[in-house]
């Protein structure tokens, strides 16, 4: 493996991270907070380390699969470690594990927190915490690619390793232009939500925070009761719509913009499946809730749609304590944690397209029993899916379930109850955030042991980087020449 180019790219990534730590400084200045030194120190450390690595001279600039995997995995680890510094330096968090957990949860857009009372934190830290969602949503390396000059051949490997979904394609011939287009699209939608929330009466700072949480499908709030604290139908509706929008493949927006029509959405099988799943889930949950928890259909619909959108897009905002919902509704939410959003979106978990393909694959296998000689291709819309992609999707699904089972067993072993253990793993592996039981919407992950937190951090990164990128590094063959 070409480790020099890996280190140099990591250096560039850290320089970018140092730049992204500047907005919280501005926030600290505005609110006259003393966290400013904590941020400046973190910036200095990150920038120095980054500059050091970036100055490495590299002869061979080719990035292949291995380098791509290594850059992305180590990149995410380093970004999380350095991103935790402001929490530690400011004294807001004293435990290193807690700070790391919070940052990983931020960058992976999980939104699982260990902070019991969030409302006492300084604004600048709250801003940074949510800003990590925004950065991690579209991908911090994609940002680095967009900002930095072309790194040389093979940067597509980085994009492939970081962006979610079984098949990655570029929007334009060049990776850095594709990255720019993605970020511009992302920024435009972000601004739209900030404006809509502010117009509806949310304080500007709060609308920034909740927009970061929505667009990155993260879910960090600045209220202990999350979005429920505002108790506003308008905010709920706006956030619901934007959560669903953030779970859509972002290249669809670009295509719609380029072609000036919405045909791309209607042609996209994944998009249609995604909307159908949301619609069916909302109807079922509404029927289940109505008359039991809420008196009016409207109230049931309002909370059902917010919570369904929040869970399927793996955001994790809450308007109400869904842990006290009837079991059927909770079961639906639990299943949705495994479905996740669309490929190429900021959402996490297994992705609608994979679920779709798994079902198509199963259908083909059943068909094979009926017509043993039949030759069939699995198709998405009208394009057939390559067999390699199919088997990779099947293996991904097995990996996902295996990891889920293993970590659940591990948590149960430490005598956490089954529901809480399973929910904690599903919620971190799927980058959702709140689960059920002791990690439910009204509580935090602080009750878990330090080691469990680290394991869950690993789950979050595995989930965000879609398993293969990380797990390939754990195989000894990866490091052999």
């Amino acid at each position: 493996m070409n480790s020099l180019i890996v280190l140099r790219t990591l250096g560039m990534l850290l320089l970018c991270e140092a730049v992204t730590m500047l907005p919280p400084v501005v926030v600290a200045l505005i609110y006259r907070e003393d966290t400013i030194t904590a941020f400046l120190a973190s910036i200095a450390i990150t920038a120095l380390l980054g500059a050091g690595l970036f100055s490495i001279r590299v002869k061979n600039k080719i990035i292949r699969y291995k380098e791509g995997f290594a850059i992305v995995t180590f990149g995410w680890l380093m970004v999380s470690i350095l991103g935790a510094l402001p929490f530690l330096f400011s004294g807001a968090l004293t435990s290193v594990i807690d700070a790391f957990f919070e940052t990983v949860s931020g960058f992976t857009t999980t939104g699982a927190t260990i902070i019991e009372d969030i409302e006492v934190l300084p604004y600048s830290l709250l801003f940074w915490r949510s800003f990590t969602h925004w950065l991690g949503g579209m991908g911090i390396l994609v940002l680095a690619l967009a900002l930095a000059p072309a790194l040389g051949g093979g940067t597509f490997q980085i994009l492939k390793a970081e962006s979610p979904g079984p098949i990655s394609t570029k929007l334009t011939p060049r990776v850095n232009n594709t990255a720019k287009i993605l970020y511009v699209t992302y920024t435009v939608i972000t601004l739209a939500e900030i404006v809509l929330l502010t117009v509806g009466g949310m304080p500007l700072f709060d609308s920034f925070i909740h927009t970061f949480g929505t667009l990155g499908t993260g879910g960090f709030s600045i209220k202990n009761a999350s979005v429920g604290a505002y108790n506003s139908v308008y905010f709920d509706t706006v956030i619901t719509i934007f959560m669903i929008a953030s779970g859509v493949n972002f290249s669809l927006y670009y295509i719609a913009f380029r072609e000036k029509r919405l045909a791309g959405f209607l042609k996209d099988t994944e998009f249609k499946t995604y909307l159908s799943i949301i619609a069916v889930s909302i109807i079922l949950v509404t029927l289940n809730l109505n008359g039991r928890l809420f008196d009016s259909v409207f109230e049931s619909l309002r909370h059902a749609s917010f919570q369904v959108a929040s869970i399927i897009t793996t955001t994790g905002f809450t308007t109400t304590d869904f842990d006290i919902w009837p079991d059927f509704s909770r079961a639906i939410l639990f299943v949705l944690m495994f479905v996740g959003a669309c490929a190429g979106s900021t959402g996490g978990s297994m992705k609608v397209i994979r679920i779709h393909l798994v079902f198509k694959y199963m259908k083909r296998e059943v068909n094979r029993l009926i017509h043993p000689k039949a030759v069939r291709a699995v198709k998405i819309g009208n394009t057939s899916v390559q067999e390699e992609v199919l088997s990779s999707v099947m293996a991904f699904t097995m990996f996902y379930i295996l990891i889920f089972i293993t970590v659940t067993l591990f948590l149960a072993m430490q005598s956490y109850d089954l529901i809480s253990s399973a929910a904690a793993v599903a919620a971190t592996l799927g980058n959702v955030g709140p689960g059920f039981g002791i990690v439910g919407p009204t509580s935090t992950y602080s009750a878990l042991s330090g080691f469990s937190k680290l394991i869950l951090c690993f789950c979050m990164i595995l989930g965000r980087l879609e398993i293969y990128t990380v797990i390939s590094l754990l195989f000894p063959q990866f490091w052999k020449r």
Partner: protein
């Protein structure tokens, strides 16, 4: 520039390699996912599996308004149709590779009536290149630039050469000549004064034609008697056919050996004075019987690199005066000189340099790819407002691997030094390693660039493809 390449075979791949170095936006279309994956791993381009003649695919890729489509699939017809389709969709320029000799007669018609701007015929170009080498007085490679005023010549340093073992600063070169590069063990080196010239090196010298020739002479390069009378060609494929046809025209006696009897009949029908022989070109008795030792030149142009190389070595040992082999894979170029072959031509490199010349536009007069594509000689007429104009060369921070070899001004050759200034009507001959071609392009192109929101919106309007997942 925004360029679509249809067909990622040998030439397609070489083009991707050269064009990405110059910062063009590329889309590559091919039917084979495997080759596209290889391209994706190595270059920052957009690849798409599919058929390049499909208008819906081309439209979907949003290539309307793009600058260039190059069709280099292995089918002539596909290439032609792809170009026509692209032109109808709104691509500005189209280049098709067409190799069937029957179409060569129709080239004018195709160009004028089907709207294809350039037709590239690799075999025809290769045959022309071989003829040029054949009629060249040098034993080795030489190319002329600036309307024939400037010559670049290859000198192979033999034991007897008076240059061997000298430091470059001690070599007394007459005014008007520079050593641009040294090739040693297959590596290209841009020398400075302290480098030594060693035995078996290949020097590339550039300068005024007559001076270069005299230097070559004193350095021990054999100047061959220019009179070529008898030529033997092995391989009656397209290149062999074009060669025989052209040599006939030059009133040179040609013996052409071809293995396939049916092909021999075809050749005999379409050629007039060529002696077509049916037999195996590697057959020693046959070569001897046909008097290979008396040949002025021996051209091996079968479809197999290995066979060409082998039979060339054989012919050289038997006594053929000048031996030229066609070698498609550039990996072999580094071993050629060690096995005693005078020249090797690669259709792939010739085609690629022809296309590159078109891509780089009118400013560039000619391009030669050297040393297996690892170095280039480019002849450029610089325009106003480019960085290279009206500034002493020493102020330009030109990287070491770019050498401004010669300037032609008002019919006079100037060998520049640090104080020389390039003016807008000059012809400039630049030698560069391929890693710095982009820099050359920068020096000779107008200022501006960088990414802006405008560009994004434009690219949003026109460019690129997006997959739905």
């Amino acid at each position: 520039m925004r360029i679509v390449i249809v067909g990622a075979g040998k030439v397609g791949y070489q083009l991707v390699e050269s064009l990405t170095k110059e910062n063009h936006d590329l889309i590559v279309i091919d039917k084979e996912q495997e080759i596209l994956d290889k391209i994706n791993d190595n270059f920052d381009v957009l690849t798409r599996k599919g058929n390049g003649i499909s208008s819906s695919l081309l439209k979907e890729l949003g290539i309307e308004g793009w600058d260039l489509l190059i069709a280099v699939t292995d089918s002539d017809e596909s290439n032609i149709v792809a170009c026509i389709t692209a032109k109808k969709i709104g691509v500005k320029t189209a280049i098709a590779r067409v190799r069937n000799p029957e179409y060569v007669v129709e080239l004018q018609f195709i160009r004028n009536n089907l709207g294809i701007d350039y037709i590239i015929n690799p075999e025809y170009a290769t045959a022309n290149e071989i003829i040029r080498l054949l009629l060249n007085t040098h034993a080795s490679y030489a190319a002329d630039f600036a309307k024939g005023h400037v010559r670049m010549s290859e000198i192979i340093i033999e034991d007897s050469s008076n240059l061997a073992g000298k430091q470059i600063k001690d070599v007394e070169l007459p005014g008007g000549v520079v050593i641009t590069a040294i090739m040693r063990n297959g590596e290209a080196i841009i020398p400075n004064g302290f480098d030594y010239i060693m035995k078996d090196d290949t020097l590339y010298i550039m300068g005024e034609k007559s001076v270069v020739d005299s230097v070559a002479k004193t350095a021990g390069v054999r100047i061959i008697n220019n009179r070529v009378r008898n030529v033997m060609i092995i391989g009656g494929g397209k290149i062999g056919f074009y060669l025989a046809k052209e040599l006939e025209r030059l009133e040179i006696n040609v013996k052409l050996i071809e293995q396939d009897l049916e092909r021999c009949r075809e050749l005999a029908e379409s050629l007039n004075n060529t002696l077509v022989l049916h037999g195996d070109g590697t057959d020693l008795t046959m070569l001897k019987a046909e008097n290979v030792e008396g040949m002025d030149a021996f051209l091996a142009v079968t479809g197999f690199d290995e066979e060409n190389l082998l039979v060339s070595v054989l012919a050289k040992q038997l006594g053929a005066r000048k031996v030229i082999a066609k070698v498609s894979r550039s990996n072999y170029t580094s071993v050629l000189e060690t096995i005693g072959i005078d020249n090797a031509v690669s259709p792939k490199l010739i085609t690629a340099s022809d296309i590159l010349r078109i891509v780089r536009g009118g400013r560039i007069v000619s391009i030669s790819l050297l040393i297996g594509g690892r170095a280039e000689v480019v002849e450029i007429i610089p325009q106003e407002d480019t960085p290279i104009i009206n500034k002493p060369l020493k102020e330009l921070k030109i990287p070491k691997s770019i050498i401004i070899g010669a300037i032609l001004r008002n019919g006079k050759v100037i060998i520049p030094n640090g104080d020389s200034i390039i003016k807008s009507a000059d012809r400039v001959i630049v030698f560069t390693l391929d890693s710095h071609i982009e820099k050359v392009t920068q020096l000779f192109s107008k200022k501006g660039g960088g990414f802006s929101i405008h560009e994004l919106i434009n690219s949003a309007k026109n460019a690129g493809d997006a997959a739905s997942m």
